[in-house]
């Protein structure tokens, strides 16, 4: 690993208060350093913009459900192929690219870190195998614990200490980065009560003496006590349902000042006409944005919708089943014992369709109403709201008012009337704000201190864009991408391939908890307790991010 000097570029490094100043960025042994000797290679970045590598806080790129979504759509790969070169592997694209194509395409957009957002514990080993074959970018995953039968049993018996130890064990055993809640309580009704679903936070969860409210509160508390870098990642109940914004606000209130991240909130910001839940949804983006603006403990990613082909893939099985009525021919459902559900539907968002246009507008509203870019960050919930390949266009929609107005004129106008988008259409994001919502913000929310910034000691993940009035063009193809100090892309071409690291946590727990878990495993799981934890060799380039338990320090 050599030395590198990037000179003459306008640097955007919000974490260090640098917003477009022309200054040098120096790299040595994979890290940002204060200076390098004169003999170091210099990249002439005059007329270019220098930013930390992009950080995707929430996407679906690896693991069991992603692979099912790949397998089920040969027609989506056929028209978007990825040729091999002397040094890089071939692959296929579409809304769910093959692993190699995923790594290369993220890097080619200037992204150097991405978090897979929903993995069943039983699927952790599979996910790590796919991440191993996802080159260049650093990555990690969130593990699904919000419908875990054993954790529910500990909760309903009031065994909160053991619940916390069990959660810590599960995070470590699966090499996860953070706990993920998806439609808490929904799976038990889906699997056990003829495809029913949870609709209220205070509804009893099937056979358990528990409600979603109790479950969510318990996870927020335990995760904060464990001092996780990213305490808990929440996909609220009632996703996609008309009138769901009330559920979303109620859930946010449960945090009570403690840290919690709420994901793809665009899908959770729907109102209804005079409380009629059957009618077309309306926009409640303003209510949601205002709550986030005024609650510094809350962070969120938007989950914007972009028109065109997408694949709805979620642990929220009842949702996918609902979409099946609009979606089309293929529906995949995959239940995981004791842990989760999963649903997959190929889906196309159309600008003329009321609901789709409203979802598009709400995504933009949330961005434009946000007063703190550090806490309302960028995502399309790839590939649910749209592929990560649409990020450059979404950036242009935020930065270019005229382009946005022109796009607004093309969509279903009834939907636009229902949204508040016209009221906030004057705002334009600055390059510095873009650097925050696509890099610095996600890194800070994730607790990845070496990412999303270019201060001395940070990871040398750097993206260099050629300035262009057309921001979609500018962000679609950076001139240089440096990953961990390696010049991976030069003049838009891959010059080398690097593996990328896996980030995970390993919180401490009372070993005694295993005596509680093992009998349950032998009774109800179909693999042995001893064969459940994932061995270190599945994460060959692992970085364990330390936790700061409450009361410790």
């Amino acid at each position: 690993m050599g030395m590198l000097r990037i000179a003459g570029g306008r640097v955007y490094d919000p974490a260090n208060g640098i917003a477009g100043a022309v200054r040098e960025v120096c790299i040595r042994d994979g890290k940002i350093v204060a200076d390098v000797p004169p003999e170091a290679r210099t990249i002439d970045a005059r007329g270019m913009v220098v930013m930390p590598g992009g950080v995707d806080i929430h996407c679906h790129i690896a693991g069991p459900k992603v692979n099912l979504a790949r397998k089920v759509q040969p027609e989506d790969h056929r028209h978007d192929v990825h040729l091999r070169t002397r040094i890089t592997r071939s692959g296929t694209g579409g809304t769910v690219p093959s692993t190699f194509a995923t790594g290369y395409r993220y890097a080619a957009l200037g992204y150097t870190t991405a978090m897979e957002a929903a993995v069943t514990p039983l699927g952790a080993r599979h996910t790590l195998e796919e991440l191993h074959d996802t080159p260049v970018i650093d990555k990690g995953f969130f593990v699904l614990v919000g419908n875990n039968v054993l954790l529910y049993r500990l909760l309903q018996e009031g065994r909160t200490e053991e619940f916390r130890h069990a959660l810590a064990w599960w995070l470590g055993a699966t090499k996860a980065y953070a706990p993920k809640l998806v439609n808490p309580g929904g799976d038990e009704l889906w699997k056990g009560q003829r495809n029913a679903n949870i609709t209220k936070l205070d509804e009893k969860i099937g056979p358990f003496d528990l409600t979603p409210r109790q479950v969510i509160a318990a996870f927020i508390e335990a995760a904060n006590e464990l001092g996780l870098p990213h305490p808990v990642h929440i996909h609220c109940n009632n996703l996609g349902h008309t009138g769901n914004y009330e559920t979303t606000l109620e859930t946010m209130r449960l945090a009570e000042g403690r840290r919690a991240h709420f994901t793809h909130i665009q899908f959770h910001s729907y109102g209804s006409v005079a409380g009629k839940s059957r009618d077309n949804p309306t926009s409640r983006a303003r209510d949601i944005a205002e709550f986030v603006n005024t609650h510094p403990n809350i962070t969120a990613d938007v989950g914007a919708v972009m028109f065109g082909r997408s694949t709805s893939m979620t642990a929220d099985a009842p949702l996918a089943y609902m979409l099946r009525r609009f979606g089309g021919a293929k529906w995949v459902n995959a239940d995981t014992e004791m842990e989760s559900g999963c649903g997959i539907i190929p889906f196309t968002y159309q600008d003329r369709v009321y609901t789709n246009a409203l979802q598009w507008a709400i995504g933009l509203e949330l961005f434009l109403l946000s007063e703190d870019p550090w806490r309302m960050v960028f995502s399309t919930d790839h590939p649910n709201g749209g592929s990560f390949m649409t990020y450059p266009r979404l950036i242009r929609l935020l930065m270019d008012r005229e382009y946005r107005k022109e796009q607004m004129s093309r969509v279903n106008q009834k939907a636009l009337d229902q949204s508040g988008l016209r009221d906030c259409q004057e705002r334009e994001y600055t390059l510095n704000e873009i650097a925050i919502i696509t890099r610095a913000g996600p890194a800070r929310i994730l607790g990845l201190t070496e990412k999303g910034q270019l201060g001395v000691g940070a990871d040398a993940d750097v993206t260099i864009y050629e300035e262009d009035a057309d921001k979609e063009k500018m962000f679609a193809a950076p001139r240089y991408v440096i990953k961990g100090g390696e010049l991976v892309i030069e003049d838009h071409e891959f010059r080398t391939e690097v593996a990328g690291r896996v980030y995970h946590v390993a919180p401490g727990y009372d070993p005694g908890i295993e005596r509680v878990l093992e009998p349950f495993f032998e009774d109800y799981y179909t693999i042995r307790f001893a064969n459940y934890p994932v061995a270190d060799r599945y994460a060959p380039h692992a970085r364990v991010v330390p936790t700061a338990p409450a009361g410790a320090s």
Binding site: V72, P74, E75, R78, G328, A329
Partner: protein, 277 residues
């Protein structure tokens, strides 16, 4: 005078010759045609390594030789005319939108998959998946005509949304499976499970056939549209009789597991013939 392209060296492994299409060769001199790129297995090659080229490209191309290992001939073809004197390989006229291909011999699997327009006439037999959808796609042929004088394999016209597939001989299993619309005419015998999952569209057969339990007899009548379709097919070389043009036909509706708006028409006298036998 047209362009004559004759095989001089049969390929050792499959040859993908997308270049063999009137639009791609328009205005090229023989030596330029000979330099057109083809893919021989995993390696780049030129047409000239396998074919001798003569004449001038005036929109009509004549191919000579055993092309059964040559794939994708006329793929994406949008106009002009191509006559193949001999057998031809897979994906003939794949996704074509216009023009005409005539094969004086047999054709491999996937004749005109997902085509949107134009006409393909096969004087011999064709393989499986004639005018079909590709795996994973719900929609197959979107327009155009495929006429096979001989027999065809399985899944002819699968997922067709618009267009015509006509077969002089027999059809294999699952003809018109998942048919969305469009017409399939089979003068010979139908294979098993014809029209399984069809939503709309018409499948016509001149021979008795055992249909799925989800098809129901509706009526016997003389369809007017056949008096337009069948003489047209006769002009294209199918041995259509006056009796077939005039009917009567039994109308079976299905598929009940789907929309149930499709129909299978069976020529009455064909059925009579069965009872006699």
């Amino acid at each position: 005078m047209s362009l004559a392209i004759t095989l001089h060296t049969p390929p050792a492994v499959p040859l993908e010759a997308d270049a063999l299409s009137p639009a791609r060769l328009a205005g090229l001199a023989p030596d330029q045609v000979a330099r057109c790129p083809v893919v021989h297995g995993n390696q780049a090659a030129e047409l000239g390594e396998f074919f001798t080229v003569s004449g001038t490209a005036d929109g009509e191309i004549h191919l000579e030789g055993d092309l059964s290992r040559v794939k994708r001939v006329g793929a994406g073809m949008s106009g002009g005319r191509m006559v193949i004197h001999g057998p031809v390989g897979m994906h003939l006229g794949a996704g074509m939108s216009g023009g005409e291909i005539v094969v004086e011999g047999d054709a491999g699997d996937w004749v005109g998959p997902e085509m949107t327009g134009g006409r393909i006439v096969i004087r011999g037999n064709a393989g499986h998946m004639v005018g079909s959808a590709l795996r994973g796609s719900a929609i197959g042929m979107r327009g155009g005509e495929i006429v096979v004088l001989g027999s065809v394999g399985n899944e002819a016209g699968s997922g067709m949304r618009r267009g015509l597939v006509a077969v002089g001989g027999d059809a294999g299993d699952f003809a018109g499976v998942n048919l969305v619309a469009g017409t399939i005419v089979v003068l010979g015998r139908l294979g098993w499970r014809t029209g399984a999952g069809m939503k709309r569209g018409t499948i016509v057969s001149m021979q008795p056939a055992e249909l799925l339990p989800t098809f129901a007899y509706a009526c016997t009548y003389r369809p007017v549209f056949l008096r337009l379709y069948l003489p047209h097919l006769r002009r294209l070389g199918l041995p259509v009789t006056d009796e077939q043009v005039n009917g009567p036909y039994q109308r079976w509706s299905g598929d009940a597991v789907e929309l149930n708006r499709g129909e299978i028409l069976l020529l009455e006298s064909g059925l009579a013939a069965r009872q006699a036998a």
